[in-house]
Symmetry: C2
Subunit: 228 residues, 2 copies
């Protein structure tokens, strides 16, 4: 999970002032299942993404009279809406749907255990989030880069892990005690590049980059077209 | 420039609570100069990256006696260090060099002008930061994705712009009144992939991804190897 355990206070943007900031480097892992020829991603609800969408609704012009009328009659037909004032109905109808906060991402985690190597931390995330138990020695380093240079500036290191159904030891899903809402999803290899460039599917750049990296560097090994 | 003009207050991480958060979507532009066959990047000092490196020095074990001795004699030989106490010298010697905060990035900017299209905002950034004047209609959309899903969750749209020396109207460098420290740098096409994967060169994933995108999609047009 990549929600930063950070404590910071920004006033009027990063350029003006900051009092204290703490962040962590992170790892991410492109997982390829050689049994099913699928990439293993995590799909999760991101509060930051949801709030960003919610912010946008506030700056958009109000609904037309027709639309409001329609929304109000729908609300009136719903039992759960009974007893709410008109302004409450209007307010709740402007919340984006929960799906607006969902993104597809690589399995990832923070580097917050100083006694573990990056590979060992990546291995733990693959196990916790996606349920595959692979030795750290099987993780191949792809590259590293700076993430969020305007806000955190931490280094993220990306790995590649090949797994098989035999390595699958649990359903994954992350640590329930951390409040994670993670769903493990599979993207078939032959759909990967279409998935990467479909802007209707909310995703991080890590997903797009790693799919293309695989296409350029690993796909020939499997003699399978990634549909480019 | 991509420093978010945001005001927010996080306590114990994004999952726990937030009071108010405002952020902006952004655009980034891969610029290719067809005259010199170079990519045009911006190299800039990022306070967030620097602070991240500085944080790391605080958690590292103290220097050995030998190293401290060496550092102290160097400091004593420097006129500017005269008059400083031993503890001040020790403190300043632990600051990372300014170069630790520098990253290579795509030309980029925030979507903070509601009356302009994404292409027009991208066009302005290309002009202000890199000094090339190209019509918005020449910007080709590559794709979009979510950036900083753990912190801001905004959408970033990436464009591709072909420019020539004829389009160069200024030295670029960003808006001085915004306090930007931007240097325009050129990366020759034939060195691009080596640059992309050299982890000693601090950069964003946008640089790596866009260079590979160009290699896969545009490079054949120029019949030039991108050294892969």
């Amino acid at each position: 999970m990549l929600s930063s355990p950070m404590f910071f206070f920004f006033q009027n943007g990063t350029k003006k002032s900051w009092d204290f900031m703490r962040t962590h480097d992170s790892v991410s892992v492109l997982i390829f299942n050689t049994t099913s020829h699928c990439f293993i991603l995590v799909k999760q609800f991101r509060p930051a993404v949801y709030m960003c969408e919610w912010e946008k609704t506030k700056t958009q012009p109000p609904q037309s009279a027709d639309k409001t009328e329609e929304g109000a009659s729908e609300a009136a037909a719903t039992e759960s809406q009974e007893g709410k004032s008109a302004s409450e109905r209007e307010s709740s109808s402007q919340w984006p749907p929960a799906s607006a906060g969902v993104t597809y991402e690589l399995c990832a985690g923070l580097v917050d255990k100083p006694d573990l190597s990056l590979e060992e931390i990546a291995r733990q995330e693959v196990l916790e989030e996606c349920g595959y138990d692979v030795p750290a020695s099987k993780l191949k380093r792809i590259t590293s880069y700076r993430s969020g240079v305007g806000v955190t500036g931490a280094r993220q290191t990306m790995f590649y892990a090949e797994v098989s159904d035999d390595n699958c030891v649990s359903a994954g899903g992350g640590e329930p005690r951390e409040g994670e809402l993670i769903e493990v999803v599979k993207v078939p290899l032959h759909e990967a590049m279409t998935f990467a460039y479909d802007e209707r599917i909310p995703k991080t750049m890590g997903v797009i980059f790693s799919f293309i990296w695989f296409h350029n560097n690993m796909s020939p090994k499997y003699k399978i077209s990634t549909n480019v």
